[in-house]
C-alpha cells in the first residue's frame, strides 16, 4: 500500500536547503525519535503506540520517504519513569538531533519532557487522549482533548438514554480528576444530577464497596474512567455483583480494545465507550490500516484509540514537512495549522492552530468478542478546545 499520505515521491532537495538548524538530516536520511515505555507498568499501554508509529514510518519509507529521504528511527525507553523520559528526550534532541519525536503516553511523562522540548526547540507528536489545559508550540496533540471526548459522550447518553443521574468513578490522578470535573460541570449545566464521585489508587483491585453504593443509589449512568489493569477487577466484580450492563447504562472514556482484551469481552459487553476511533470503524482507510497493522504485528493484535492517534503522528509530520519544504522545526510548526489528512483511519483530521486535531467523537457499544459496535458519531468535526471556558 502506498500509505495514507499518497502523492508522488519528490526529487530530493539539497540538505542545506531543507535543514538550516543542524538537525540529523543527510542527503538520504532523516532521523526521528520514538520515546515510549517498553518496560515498567506503562509498557502494556505504550506498546501499541510504538507499533503504530513504526508502521507509519515504514509505510512512509516504502512510499519514498520525506523530501526524498528515508526515515531512520532512534528508539528510547522511558521505562515508565518520568525523570527518565526527560533525560531520554534531552538525549534525542541534543545528542541525536532528531527532527521530530513521537512519544509519551501519560500526562505525567508529557509534563516531564515539556520543558526539554521547549528549551531545545524540539517537536513532539503526543498520541493520548488527555485532560487538556495545555498548549505548547513544540507539541502536536494527535489524541482528543477532554471536551472532544467528554461533552459529546455525555450529551449522547442524556439524549439517547434519557439519563438524569450519574455516578462518577476514576483512578486517582490528574487525568480522571480533571475529566470528571468537566463531566460534572456539563452534567449539572444540563440539569442532571451527580449522585457520587469517587477515586481509587492506580492498580486498585477491590471495588465491592463502590459497587454496593451504586446498587443502592441506582444512577442512570455509571460514568467510569478507571485506568489500566484496575479495569479488569472493576468489570469482573461489576458482573459478579449482578449488575447487568444491558440494563444498567455504563459510559467509559478509558477503556479501548486494548483494555477489553484483559477484561474479557464477556465481562464488559453492553458498556458504552466515547472515543474518536474504534477498530471496527467501517471505512476504506481503516480497513487498510487494520490489515497493515496486523500484517506487521500479528493477526491477534487489537487496535485501540490511542494506537490510531499514534499512527497519525508521522503522517501529520510528513505532510507539514512537505508543505514547509524543510525539516526546520519553526517552519514545520508554521506549516502545520490547517494540515489535513483525508486518509486517516478515523476518517479525516485537520490540525487546528492550537496544535490539536479537529476530529469526531464516536460512541461504541462493547461486544462480547472484544470489539465495539459504533452506534453514533458527531455529525460535524469537533473543534479542539483545550481551555474550555467555565470548565476550568
Amino acid at each position: 500500500m502506498a500509505g495514507i499520505g499518497g502523492g508522488v515521491a519528490q526529487a530530493a532537495p539539497a540538505t542545506a536547503e531543507v535543514n538550516t538548524t543542524g538537525l540529523a538530516v543527510t542527503d538520504t536520511e532523516v532521523t526521528v525519535g520514538i520515546l515510549h515505555s517498553v518496560t515498567g507498568t506503562m509498557a502494556i499501554s505504550e506498546t501499541g503506540s510504538v507499533q503504530a508509529e513504526k508502521l507509519a514510518i515504514e509505510q512512509i519509507n516504502a512510499s519514498g520517504g520525506i523530501l526524498g529521504r528515508q526515515i531512520k528511527i532512534i528508539q528510547e525507553d522511558g521505562a515508565s519513569d518520568w525523570p527518565t523520559f526527560a533525560e531520554k528526550a534531552r538525549k534525542l534532541l541534543v545528542n541525536d538531533k532528531t527532527a521530530a519525536v513521537f512519544g509519551c503516553w501519560t500526562s505525567a511523562s508529557r509534563k516531564a519532557v515539556l520543558p526539554v522540548f521547549e528549551k531545545e526547540n524540539g517537536l513532539l507528536y503526543y498520541p493520548t487522549f488527555y485532560e487538556g489545559l495545555e498548549q505548547s508550540p513544540n507539541v502536536f496533540y494527535t489524541g482528543q482533548e477532554a471536551t472532544q471526548q467528554i461533552l459529546a459522550g455525555i450529551d449522547w447518553v442524556m439524549k439517547d438514554k434519557g439519563a438524569k443521574s450519574f455516578y462518577l468513578l476514576g483512578s486517582d490522578y490528574i487525568w480522571p480528576r480533571t475529566s470528571n470535573k468537566i463531566a460534572r460541570k456539563h452534567i449539572e449545566m444540563n440539569g442532571a444530577q451527580v449522585l457520587g464521585e469517587e477515586y481509587f489508587p492506580l492498580g486498585h483491585t477491590q471495588f465491592n464497596s463502590v459497587i454496593n453504593k451504586i446498587k443502592l443509589r441506582k444512577p442512570d449512568v455509571i460514568y467510569a474512567i478507571i485506568v489500566g489493569g484496575s479495569n479488569v477487577a472493576f468489570y469482573k466484580q461489576l458482573k459478579a455483583a449482578g449488575i447487568d450492563l444491558s440494563k444498567q447504562t455504563l459510559l467509559t472514556i478509558s477503556v479501548t480494545e486494548d483494555e477489553v482484551r484483559g477484561i474479557g469481552g464477556e465481562n464488559i459487553a453492553g458498556a458504552y465507550a466515547a472515543m474518536k476511533y474504534f477498530q471496527s470503524l467501517d471505512n476504506e482507510n481503516n480497513k487498510a490500516f487494520v490489515k497493515a497493522f496486523k500484517d506487521m504485528w500479528g493477526q491477534d493484535m487489537v487496535i485501540g484509540d490511542v494506537t490510531q492517534a499514534a499512527y497519525l503522528g508521522p503522517w501529520l509530520w510528513k505532510a507539514a514537512v512537505e508543505k514547509a519544504g524543510s525539516f526546520d522545526v519553526d517552519k514545520v510548526r508554521e506549516a502545520s495549522a490547517g494540515i489535513e489528512l483525508t486518509t486517516a483511519p478515523e476518517g479525516y483530521v485537520k490540525i487546528h492552530p492550537n496544535h490539536h486535531l479537529w476530529s469526531k467523537t464516536r460512541i461504541g457499544l462493547a461486544k462480547a468478542d472484544g470489539q465495539f459496535e459504533v452506534l453514533y458519531e458527531t455529525a460535524e468535526l469537533m473543534e479542539p478546545d483545550p481551555f474550555p471556558k467555565g470548565y476550568q
Binding site: 509498557a43 489508587p201 477491590q206 464497596s209 454496593n212 489493569g229 477487577a233 459478579a240 477484561i263
Partner: protein, 309 residues
C-alpha cells in the same frame, strides 16, 4: 455520613460491606500467608513474592487455554486443575531458587532482600519475553460469575465466596502442617533454635528448602485466585507486594495467627471506611491506623516469644 439512606438500606449496607470486608480479608490472607511462612519461619524477606503470585496467574492463563483447546468439555472445572498447576510450578521454582540462591544467604536478611529483589526483576523480564508486555485475562466458567441473592438488596458475588472458601482450605492445610504434623514440629524447632534442632537429628537444610517451596507454592495459588478479579501482566506482582508486606509486618512477622488478625483488621477497616469515604481516602486512613499501631507496638500485633541468644 448516613444521609440519604433509609434504615433498611443501612442494614443492607452493613451486610454487604461486611461481606466485601470478608472477601478482602480472604484476598489479603491469601497474599500474605506464603510471605509470612517464609519471612516468619525463615527470616527471609522475599521481594519476589509478587512474581511468584504472577507465575501462578500465568499458569492459570495457560491452563485455561489448554483446557479450552484440548478438552472444552472440562472447562467448567479447569480452575481446580489450574490451581494445582500453579502450586506445583511456583513451588518448584521456589525450590530451585532456595537451592541456587537463598540457602547461601540465611541469617543475612538484608542480603536476601536485595537478592530476591533482583530475582523479581529477572522474573518480570522473563514474563515480558515469554508472554508479552500486554496484560492477559482468563475467561471464567459461567458458574463462577454472578451473584447469590440473599435478599432483595443483599447480594454476594460468587467468585468472592470462592476466594473465601479457598482461603479457608489453604489456611486449614497450613495450620495442620505447622501445628499437627511432624514436619511442622521440625519447622518450629528449627525456627526457635537451629543448633539444638540439628543436635536432635532434624535436617535443617531440608526443612528450609521445603518451607520456602511451600511459601512460594501458596503464592502461586494466590496468583491463580487473583485471575478471577484482576488481569495479569509482567509487573502486576508489584501491585500486591506492598499490601502483602503491610499485612505481614502489621501482624508481627513470626506469628501466623498475627497474620490472620492483621489481615482481618486491615480489610474490615478498609472496607468500612471505603463506604463512607472515597477509595483513596480509605486507603490513607487505613495506612494511618497501621502506622499509629506500629508506633505503639513496633513488633506488630502478635509476637512469638523466641529466645534471642
Amino acid at each position: 455520613m448516613f444521609d440519604g439512606y433509609t434504615a433498611s438500606e443501612l442494614v443492607s449496607i452493613l451486610a454487604m460491606q461486611g461481606f466485601a470486608g470478608l472477601i478482602l480479608f480472604s484476598v489479603f490472607l491469601l497474599m500474605a500467608l506464603g510471605l509470612a511462612i517464609i519471612f516468619g519461619q525463615m527470616g527471609v524477606i522475599n521481594m519476589a513474592h509478587g512474581e511468584f503470585m504472577i507465575l501462578g496467574a500465568y499458569m492459570t492463563y495457560l491452563t485455561s487455554h489448554l483446557v479450552q483447546d484440548y478438552a472444552p468439555g472440562l472447562f467448567g472445572g479447569y480452575f481446580f486443575l489450574a490451581m494445582i498447576v500453579a502450586f506445583i510450578a511456583a513451588g518448584a521454582l521456589g525450590l530451585l531458587l532456595e537451592w541456587a540462591l537463598i540457602r547461601h544467604l540465611y541469617r543475612r536478611p538484608l542480603d536476601t532482600l536485595l537478592a530476591t529483589w533482583g530475582v523479581s526483576l529477572i522474573l518480570q523480564q522473563i514474563y515480558r519475553s515469554v508472554f508479552g508486555a500486554r496484560e492477559v485475562g482468563v475467561t471464567l466458567p459461567d458458574w463462577m460469575m454472578g451473584a447469590l441473592s440473599l435478599s432483595d438488596t443483599i447480594e454476594v458475588p460468587i467468585n468472592g465466596l470462592f476466594v473465601m472458601a479457598l482461603t479457608l482450605v489453604i489456611s486449614g492445610i497450613v495450620f495442620l502442617l505447622m501445628f499437627r504434623s511432624s514436619w511442622g514440629l521440625q519447622v518450629r524447632a528449627v525456627t526457635q533454635n537451629r543448633v539444638m534442632a540439628g543436635a536432635a537429628g532434624i535436617n535443617g537444610r531440608r526443612v528450609d528448602a521445603m518451607t520456602f517451596a511451600l511459601g512460594c507454592g501458596i503464592a502461586g495459588v494466590a496468583g491463580s485466585a487473583f485471575t478471577m478479579i484482576g488481569s495479569t501482566g509482567p509487573t502486576s506482582g508489584q501491585l500486591y507486594i506492598v499490601d502483602t508486606f503491610l499485612v505481614v509486618v502489621f501482624g508481627g512477622a513470626q506469628s501466623l495467627l498475627g497474620t490472620i488478625a492483621s489481615a482481618l483488621t486491615i480489610s474490615q477497616s478498609q472496607s468500612t471506611l471505603e463506604f463512607f469515604l472515597s477509595g483513596s481516602m480509605a486507603k490513607v486512613f487505613t495506612l494511618l491506623v497501621v502506622v499509629l499501631i506500629l508506633l505503639v507496638r513496633p513488633q506488630g500485633l502478635f509476637v512469638l516469644k523466641v529466645r534471642k541468644a
